[in-house]
Chain length 146, copies 2
């Protein structure tokens, strides 16, 4: 295999991921959403399934627990979410959206979808399928266990 050639995907992958994030963040700023991309991603997860523990959210979002703790702190400071005691396990905390949090998700969802779609101009349905398949294959190839 031509290692020189293959080993350069990482640069393109990294810069594209950064640009996707940056583009969305700029759009958020212009729309005065008062949220970062990562804060939004956690809000979205909570909207789809309320009352999860932070551990569960961390797994679902692919973030580690310290990172999640900090994002949740910010969401709470913004009064978009709240921590609630777990009824059976005092180590855990259930997170729930506040009314404001739910309203925020409902208000912004359509705009966020539009922002996300921009990336797919000039690309086909096949491209989308291949792209997600390849990304997931790479993700699994580099799994911690292996």
């Amino acid at each position: 295999m031509l290692k020189e050639k293959y080993s350069q995907y990482s640069f393109i992958l990294d810069r594209t991921a950064r640009r996707v994030k940056q583009y969305a963040q700029n759009s958020f700023l212009q729309g005065a959403f008062d949220l970062t991309i990562d804060q939004w991603s956690i809000l979205k997860i909570l909207y789809e399934e309320d009352a999860m523990t932070q551990k569960e959210i961390a797994e679902k979002s692919g973030k580690d627990q310290p990172t999640l703790t900090r994002i949740v702190d910010i969401l709470i400071k913004k009064r978009l979410a709240q921590r609630v005691e777990h009824p059976e396990d005092r180590r855990c905390l259930h997170l729930k959206l506040t009314k404001e949090g739910k309203a925020k998700v409902e208000e912004l969802s359509p705009a966020v979808k539009e922002i996300r779609m921009k990336a797919w101009e000039n690309l086909s349905e096949d491209d989308f399928e291949n792209f997600t398949r390849i990304l997931n294959t790479i993700y699994n190839n580099l799994n911690q266990q292996s």
Copy 2:
């Protein structure tokens, strides 16, 4: 278009980019390379073309100038690179590798290529072509100017 479906690529892209970086970083740690991935990427660029300004390196690496300043500070602290005055423009600084810096790149290059290849198990040459094409299309779709 099914916006709901298409708008979820960003999560997969982000988490895969993070895992690629993390996998390489862990391999660097185990090999006691004493470098981060991003420090390595700058060293590599300097090895290929010595005596560039920070502005040029920033463009080539896809990093912004503040980020580059910090990474270069670290490389200099590690005695792998040095700043040299630009002969014609006193605003600029030429960066050059030290002997140690060049030796480091030569020493680690083969190992880094091996690490990078791991991601491509179970994937074909076509996948590689499609992957880079799609990434670059997305990157251009989200160009600042547009």
